[in-house]
């Protein structure tokens, strides 16, 4: 027979457990301890509140351009929640909630977005990579981490984050291919928020789902309701367990929505309708989870105030940080400063000293720190 259907048939599943009307599929409901449910909700709410605060900080010129997460709290938290601290987390640039959960102090995240790379330095015992800006380029690193963990026979799973747009980049495909060939312990979490800046998913791919792209590389892909934290959690836990058991990679497509701007330099009214946003607001992941917890009597009194106070304290610590010392630009270029850079550092030191003298002579106020700069253009705040 020259033409026949190959075995196995490829199947793509969609998983939804708690829908936006509050309907719960109890057969699929994951078993999460009450304390964990509370922690999960708290982390999501913190993500939302911090996001709102950061938008204001950016508008006030206290931090630079950043990418809000509003609407994607369930996708991030449901997945990252299944990791152990010893597992690795590889973010893109829109994972603030997940990063805070993984132990990044809020003030450090703020510092990064205020233009200081110190904010991107992980703590010594933290198994997290810093934010990666070039889309999809972190994915091969994640596969490399997973390979190394497997090589050392460590009990480690790697979770890597990226968006729908990232699935168009070569690095995405190369990373998935390597992951499949090497059969490494990795979970790829795609937050399909429907948009890559102004480009809708329909223009990004002709595939029906993003999950199915995993099949081409020989491992499972699953689509989940990304605004349903229970579904994201269930799919992630299964994928992490598979990875830990040596059963290889999984791709999880979280179908979600970016309710806010792409970044604070973006104007979404140019490319998408108010109605579309309104429709997705009805599917807000927080509202849904809140109602679920309410039924279980797990909502904490005064949680919002408590979170806001935590954020306010972190903002204060951030504002109290010393202004960036320009001389440190030389500190981490090489392990050891080569002679030409030593000379350049010396030149800068002299310049800065002269500047201070000159300002004293002219009795001018010191220049405003970058953080306090005024608005100029879209991309400059």
């Amino acid at each position: 027979m020259p033409r026949r259907v190959l075995d196995p048939q490829f199947v793509i599943e969609h998983l939804s457990i708690l829908d936006s009307d509050g309907n719960l599929d109890t057969a699929l409901e994951p078993d999460i301890a009450p304390a964990d449910l509370k922690r999960l909700y708290r982390a999501m709410l913190l993500g939302r509140r911090l996001d709102e605060r950061m938008v204001r900080l950016q508008r006030q010129g206290r931090i630079g351009t950043f990418a809000p997460i509003k609407g994607q709290e369930a996708s991030q938290m449901g997945s990252v929640f299944t990791l152990r601290p010893t597992d690795w987390m590889v973010p893109s640039f829109r994972e603030t909630a997940a990063m805070i959960y993984r132990g990044w102090p809020i003030e450090k995240v703020l510092l990064l977005f205020a233009g200081s790379l110190e904010g991107g330095r992980p703590a010594p015992d933290q198994h997290d990579l810093p934010i990666t800006v070039p889309v999809a380029t972190q994915l091969p690193h994640a596969v490399g981490l997973a390979y190394a963990a497997q090589y050392r026979e460590d009990n480690v799973v790697v979770m890597a984050y990226f968006g729908d747009g990232a699935t168009s980049e070569g690095d995405f495909h190369e990373a998935l291919n390597f992951a499949g060939v090497w059969h490494v312990p990795i979970v790829f979490v795609c937050q399909n928020n429907q948009w890559a800046i102004s480009v809708p998913i329909k223009k990004q791919t002709h595939s029906r789902t993003l999950a199915q792209k995993a099949l081409a590389y020989g491992f499972p892909g699953i689509q989940v309701d990304g605004n349903d934290v229970l579904a994201v959690y269930a799919a992630s836990r299964e994928a992490v367990e598979r990875a830990r058991a040596g059963e290889g990679p999984t791709l999880i497509e979280c179908v979600t929505y970016r309710l806010g701007v792409h970044t604070t330099a973006d104007d979404p009214t140019k490319y998408r309708s108010e109605e579309e946003v309104k429709a997705w607001e009805q599917k807000d992941p927080l509202t849904r989870f809140n109602a679920y917890l309410q039924k279980k009597n797990l909502l904490e009194e005064g949680l919002e105030e408590q979170i806001d106070a935590e954020i306010a304290a972190a903002v204060q610590r951030f504002e109290a940080m010393a202004a960036a010392d320009p001389l440190t630009i030389f500190d981490h270029v090489y392990a050891e400063l080569p002679p030409h850079l030593r000379a350049q550092k010396e030149e800068l030191r002299e310049r800065l000293e002269k500047d201070v003298e000159r300002r004293a002579d002219e009795e001018l106020p010191p220049p405003l720190p970058m953080r306090g700069q005024r608005k100029t253009s879209r991309w400059q705040n």
Partner: protein, 326 residues
């Protein structure tokens, strides 16, 4: 004649070239409906439709790779890479193919295409939004590397680049997009590639700059004239490669002194090539060593420290004074 900022001037060039030549098309991330993240391609999609103004999937390698194919077929793609920091994803398509098809096919094929990208400092964003990488492209045979310094040169050079039969890398300084407005003629104006401009004549020192650094150089020249009474000749390079050696050398033969300013890191940057060119052709005219004012040889450490790294007026003035006092 209208007063336009650089965004509007570039936009005008695209509108007019697309009207004039149906083979010109635009491709890139967010260049269509959104009009580009800096709005340089504003309204093109509405006017020319999605087949000529292509909102591509998010893949720089395929944007350039498919454009190479279109160019081989005879179209004239104008590609946008959203930030120069993301052009490494397509560097192989540029170096391996766009730059080489003429040589590889021994003249049978060539790639008439423009690759536009914003570069340089001035936006308060994360890594890869602030860097200057012109040196990488200037080093590749077969490519032209162009950097306008304001609205009028931007418009004229973009038209020149679109009509140029060779692949052109076209850098747009982000800091200039909204900075100043200039009179830009309504009728199409073309500036030739490979030609620098003496924007201010002087006899004491030649100051060479391009892109956003031209304004810094001009301000420094003014300070030196006001405070030191010296006359600085300012050259706006406009095309980095092929370098207009004649204009540079003629000027230095007259002034005997040269200072070069760029935003890219100092080592192995365009300043080195310009200095070597002067040494080769005008050594006997030199009264002082040639100096470079450039960014330090460091990776981006966050925009909070950008000001200390990028050349400013005070640094250029100081370098000129040392050169003049030599």
């Amino acid at each position: 004649m209208a007063k336009l900022n650089m965004v509007k001037a570039l936009n005008l060039a695209l509108h007019q070239e697309m009207e004039r030549d149906p083979d010109v098309l635009v491709i890139g991330e967010d260049v269509g409906v959104d009009g580009g993240v800096f709005r340089v391609t504003e309204d093109l999609h509405r006017k020319f439709g999605g087949r000529r103004v292509i909102d591509s999937p998010l893949a720089e390698a395929a944007i350039i790779g498919t454009s190479v194919g279109m160019a081989l077929y005879g179209l004239k793609p104008v590609c946008e890479i959203q930030f120069s920091g993301f052009a490494f994803q397509c560097f192989h398509q540029i170096e391996n193919h766009a730059a080489r098809y003429r040589t590889r096919s021994q003249g049978r094929f060539h790639c008439q295409m423009v690759i536009r990208m914003p570069y340089g400092g001035g936006v308060r964003a994360l890594e890869h939004h602030t860097e200057s990488e012109e040196q990488f492209y200037a080093h590749i045979p077969g490519l032209k590397m162009v950097i306008p310094s304001g609205p009028r040169t931007a418009r004229g050079l973009l038209v020149g680049a679109i009509r140029d039969p060779d692949p052109v890398i076209f850098f747009e300084a982000k800091g200039l997009y909204h900075a100043a407005r200039e009179e830009v003629p309504d009728e199409i104006e073309t500036l030739p590639l490979g030609r620098a401009q003496v924007v201010q004549e002087g006899k004491d020192l030649t100051l060479i700059a391009y892109g956003a650094m031209l304004r810094v150089a001009r301000e420094a020249a003014q300070v030196l004239q006001d405070e030191d009474g010296v006359e600085i000749e300012v050259i706006d390079l406009l095309t980095i490669s092929p370098l207009d050696r004649e204009t540079v050398v003629t000027s230095v033969q007259k002034t005997g002194r040269a200072v070069i300013v760029h935003e890219a890191p100092k080592s192995f940057g365009p300043g080195a090539e310009i200095a070597a060119t002067i040494m080769e052709a005008a050594f006997l005219s030199l009264e002082a060593p040639i100096r470079r004012v450039a960014a330090y040889d460091v990776s981006f450490a966050g925009f909070a420290r950008e000001k200390a790294n990028v050349p400013d007026v005070a640094r250029v003035v100081a370098a000129c004074r040392e050169t003049l006092a030599f």
